[in-house]
């Protein structure tokens, strides 16, 4: 198991918070909460070791398309593939946008 930290530029703080997913096989849990303006922080606790680069690239690719709102994101990962991670993040962003 590894704990990783990431930081990305962001816009204004999100208004709501959201929880999506579950720490089940091949899945992950994502907790999104409003952060400080301009910064998106991500803490990842993952069962798969040595994947820091993979997480970095995945986040970069998602956030280069669109500047995310300022959030503190906690991820508890149980071996999700990058595709599942991306779907869960998008689900989370959609849910905070609805609140």
């Amino acid at each position: 198991m590894e704990t990783l930290s990431f930081e990305f530029p962001a816009g204004q703080p999100a208004k709501g918070r959201a929880l999506v997913g579950c720490v089940g096989s091949g899945d992950l849990e994502v907790l999104l909460e409003p952060g400080t303006a301009g910064t998106l922080t991500i803490q990842v606790q993952t069962s798969v070791n040595g994947a820091q680069q993979r997480w970095q690239h995945l986040f970069e690719r998602i956030f280069q398309e669109q500047t995310p709102p300022a959030l503190n994101i906690d991820i508890h990962d149980f071996g999700a593939t990058p595709g599942v991670v991306r779907l869960r993040l998008e689900q989370g962003f959609e849910e905070i946008a609805h609140d």
Partner: protein, 280 residues
């Protein structure tokens, strides 16, 4: 096909969604929600990723206007195993519901059980928490019904199968399984010839929801459908306390078991006849 599309599966829902689905619209209020991060302090130290709610959702709300506390176990996280935190959440919720009753608030409880029992990584702390849950069910059920729901697909095993047995009423689906030991544990102890844990029809024929209902060990047998499960839970809540708790009938069950010839391989029909006795 249209039936399939109209059906709203309960088994496919996560713990939080299940609690929301059973409670009256808009009445769901979660206690110790995941953002409070009351997590297992033991899993990370053993290299296991924890979950923010420790796999247990506690929600207060109403069912058909009746005050209810729901404890829902997430079967997809560590097999629904109960550790120190998740166990304490359930025990605490049940204890508070009993306290409510002593203060004139008729809070009842619904337990959504998807669990293999104690979380081995937390050993004695999980066992102690499950003992607290047992005591809390026995306390609360004097005042109001405690309803256990085993929907599947994990089922309910180990110490939590005893909790299911202590409930005022137990509701199962065809997908459910209920047993003190899980199939793999029994296979390991009894041998492959006697109990093949990979033989799914055989396992369900002995420990599945239909068999448990036919043997009188469950009170309701329901299809995997949100509306039907909600309706049955509501009916049981409105029914109030049972005239006699199942777990108070230990003498009756012991007498039944005493006449069993354990020599031949047991089959589902024998079990049903054994438990039903003259009624069958």
């Amino acid at each position: 096909m249209t039936d399939l599309l109209n059906k709203h599966s309960f088994v496919e829902l996560g713990a939080r969604q299940r609690a929301k689905a059973l409670l009256d619209e808009g009445s769901f209020r979660e206690l110790i929600d995941p953002f409070q991060r009351v997590m297992s302090p033991w899993l990370s130290r053993q290299g296991v990723v924890p979950q923010a709610d420790d796999g247990v959702v506690i929600a207060k709300g109403a069912i058909a206007g009746l005050p209810v506390v729901i404890a829902a176990i997430e079967g997809n996280f560590q097999g629904g195993s109960l550790g120190e935190v998740g166990g304490a959440k359930i025990a605490g919720a049940l204890e508070l519901a009993a306290e409510d009753n002593r203060n004139g608030i008729p809070t009842c409880a619904v337990l959504l059980l998807e669990t293999g029992g104690v979380r081995l990584q937390e050993a004695n702390l999980g066992l102690a928490a499950i003992a607290d849950i047992h005591a809390a069910i026995v306390d609360l059920r004097q005042y109001q019904p405690v309803i256990g729901v085993v929907a599947g697909s994990v089922g309910c095993f180990g110490g939590m199968s005893i909790a299911a047995g202590l409930c005022s009423y137990l509701l199962v689906t065809r997908e459910a399984r209920l047993g003190l030991n899980g199939p793999q544990v029994i296979e390991q102890e009894a041998g492959l010839e006697e109990y093949d844990s990979r033989d799914r029809p055989f396992i369900w024929s002995l420990t599945g929801g239909e068999q448990r209902f036919a043997s009188g060990l469950a009170d309701r047998y329901v299809a995997d459908d949100v509306a039907q499960i909600q309706q049955q839970v509501t009916e049981l809540l409105q029914q109030g306390l049972p005239t006699i708790q199942r777990s108070r009938q230990a003498e009756h069950y012991l007498q039944r078991l005493a006449v069993l010839d354990a020599e031949p391989q047991i089959d589902p029909a024998t079990v049903r006849d054994l438990y039903q006795g003259e009624r069958s």
